[in-house]
């Protein structure tokens, strides 16, 4: 187990190195940079001035040199300066990360706490009204794009509940109610999509495990139904669910881009959109790096959880 973990972590280094090269070259293959994006309208800008700006921002250096100085910076904690916000990239990410992490964790919490009971009940009571109702809601949840759901919250939250997205970051410790008002709706939107997919997966795999021989054996031993369902069927149904959850965390990171933008949450996603439209390379690179590292860690955790869920799997 320990060796496996170490091997996986070591393998992450070349992957991340490759990712940095990919991210770096992706942004540089096309014509145009931060300066042309900024000067887009004022075509007649003084070329000497533009040249001086390029020089100052290091955009005139050869690409490999730019890459290595960026890479060196990443290791030493200097991720460059965001042109657009005129702050160190690390400061921007540090400011935005707590919001995104809270949003993501709340979404996953909502997603799991909704999907597990409904999915299990839907499978145990297959073809009952609760099964049909749950499946219909799940399909609807899967089909509604999260930005549409977020827009609905903006429209009807204001109309019916007088809710408007709070401005500025509301800390949970100083203003818990304001914090929940800020993150609750976004977490519900992201959590709804999560729970819809999870529920379908839990239902399908539960249907399979409930028919397995070991479940029949457990019943034959005279175990209580709740023990049969949760200790025997549910635990074995969890592996595909955890795999799905891993994918979902990645999708949730993508979804948060839209949800943060619509609901005015100053997280990683919203900063990413801003950085992209401003062609703020250092910030785009930094955020992509954070997102990719996160997804690699998630994948690792998913793989590790397999052996915890199924003792037959050993690394």
């Amino acid at each position: 187990m320990q060796r496996y973990l170490i091997r996986r972590l070591v393998f992450m280094v070349p992957t991340l190195l490759f990712v940095t090269i990919a991210v770096f070259s992706l942004i540089r293959v096309m014509p145009g940079d931060f300066i042309t994006a900024q000067m887009g309208e004022s075509r007649g800008a003084d070329p000497a001035f533009i040249e001086r700006l390029r020089e100052e921002l290091g955009l005139n250096e050869p690409a490999p040199k730019q890459y290595f100085s960026w890479l060196g910076g990443i290791v030493t904690g200097d991720w460059g300066t965001s042109y657009w916000q005129n702050k160190p990239v690390t400061a921007v990410i540090k400011g935005a990360l707590p919001s995104s992490i809270q949003l993501g964790l709340m979404a996953i919490l909502i997603g799991i706490s909704l999907s597990v009971p409904i999915g299990v009940i839907a499978a145990v009571k297959q073809d009952s009204w609760i099964d049909y109702l749950g499946r219909m809601i799940a399909i609807a949840g899967v089909s509604m794009p999260n930005f549409f759901l977020a827009t609905l919250i903006i429209i009807y939250g204001a109309r019916w509940l007088g809710w408007f997205p709070p401005q500025g970051y509301q800390s949970f410790f100083t203003n818990p109610w304001g914090n929940l008002q800020q993150f609750g709706p976004g977490a519900i939107v992201l959590g709804a999509a999560l729970s819809a997919q999870n529920m379908r997966m839990i239902r399908t795999t539960m249907l399979e495990t409930l028919r397995a021989d070991y479940v029949r054996t457990a019943r034959a031993k005279g175990l209580r139904e709740s023990v049969v369902i949760f200790r025997h069927a549910f635990r074995n149904a969890l592996i595909p669910v955890v795999t799905l959850l891993g994918f979902q965390i990645i999708t949730t990171v993508g979804g948060s881009v839209l949800v943060e933008t619509v609901l005015g949450i100053n997280g990683i996603g919203r900063n990413f959109i801003g950085a992209v439209t401003q062609r703020d390379y250092p910030l785009v690179q930094g955020i992509l790096l954070v997102i990719i590292t996160t997804t690699l860690m998630v994948n690792l955790l998913v793989d590790l959880s397999y052996s915890w869920l199924d003792p037959r799997i050993r690394y």
Binding site: T15, F18, V19, A22, V23, L26, I27, V29, M30, G32, Q126, D127, I139, A140, V142, S143, M144, P145, F147, F148, T151, L152, I154, I155, A158, R159, T204, L207, E208, I250, T251, V253, G254, G255, V257, L258, T261, F272, I273, V276, T277, R279, V284, L288, I291, I292, T295, L296, N299
Partner: protein, 311 residues
């Protein structure tokens, strides 16, 4: 509930009368066994027809791109001030006919859904097939690249690439088509790896069949089922991502009507007074995605032998 019209989506156009009859029979059986799936299939077909109707102009009541300043933000079933036009779903903030814009918007969604799915699945299937068949270093490199592409959320990756290429419908289309390749590659590779061990492949090889012939004639037909199922999900995903990109303003550009763009533009500015500007395109997207998901589920249940008998 069912009709023979879903035939095109389920089976190849049949040439001989006997295969036509058997296709119809299979279709009727599918409809009887999975009525919801059949309805979803019909809905998909209807949406394709609406898109064609919008593209050819048959279904449009007004020009979806023409501004009419005097008819701004009119309600359902209203007549224009000069009495010459009729707006079924009213108009947006520039006085454009909402109904015609939504019908016209189907065009982009369907184009993305079907186009991205067919390109990415063709390329992905080819890559998966060759990767699994050739194996060795080639397989290893292809799989690592695909691993890497899958670590980044599709939307984030698409946004990053669009930021480099600049916004535009066709750019977004090609980017999405290429970024959607990993999943079909994975699915096809997995299926091929299991099919490759079958006796009939060995038999074909011992008869001296070329690699190309084995791949196309013996392996491909046996991995068609997972490909078809995957296709319906790729369609749904492509439609959502197109809508998301247009919603963010980096997909379809005005004045082209796209459902995602309609939600963000007039939809967000006027949602307090005219929520239908956001609601209708939003429901349109949801409906398309709903239909293709349901159809995909029914196809999966029908084609996946492990799930046969479950519902």
């Amino acid at each position: 509930m069912a009709s023979a019209s879903t035939a095109g989506t389920l089976s190849q156009p049949a040439s001989s009368p006997s295969s036509l009859a058997s296709a119809r029979k299979r279709l009727l059986k599918f409809a009887r066994k999975r009525p919801i799936g059949a309805v979803a299939g019909l809905m998909c077909l209807a949406l394709v027809l609406i898109a064609i109707g919008g593209a050819t102009g048959v279904l449009l009541t007004n020009d979806p791109e023409v501004f009419k300043g005097s008819d701004r933000l009119m309600g359902f079933m209203s007549e224009s001030r000069d009495g010459q036009r009729f707006y079924i779903l009213g108009t947006d903030e520039l006085g454009r006919d909402l109904y015609s814009r939504i019908v016209k918007g189907a065009q982009i969604s369907i184009f993305f859904g079907l186009g991205v799915a067919s390109i990415s699945i063709t390329l992905g299937a080819f890559l998966g097939l060759t990767s699994a068949y050739i194996g060795g270093k080639f397989d290893l490199i292809v799989q690592r690249i695909i691993d890497l592409l899958q670590t980044v959320p599709l939307l984030v990756l698409a946004i990053a690439v669009v930021s480099v290429t600049g916004p535009g419908v066709m750019k977004a289309f090609w980017i999405l088509a290429f970024l959607s390749i990993p999943r079909p590659t994975r699915v096809v590779r997995g299926s091929v790896l299991s099919v490759r061990q079958e006796v009939y492949v060995e038999a074909a090889r011992s008869l001296g069949a070329t690699n190309m012939r084995i791949m196309l004639k013996h392996i491909l037909p046996n991995v068609v089922a997972p490909i078809i199922v995957l296709a319906s999900y790729v369609v749904a995903l492509a439609i959502v991502v197109e809508a998301s990109l247009s919603f963010l303003g980096i997909g379809a550009q005005p004045p082209t009507p796209s459902w995602g763009a309609m939600l963000t533009g007039s939809g967000q500015t006027y949602f307090q007074t005219n929520p239908r500007l956001a609601l209708l395109p939003g429901f349109a997207i949801s409906l398309v995605v709903f239909a293709s998901n349901m159809f995909g589920d029914a196809l999966r249940d029908e084609l996946d032998p492990r799930l046969r008998g479950t519902r």
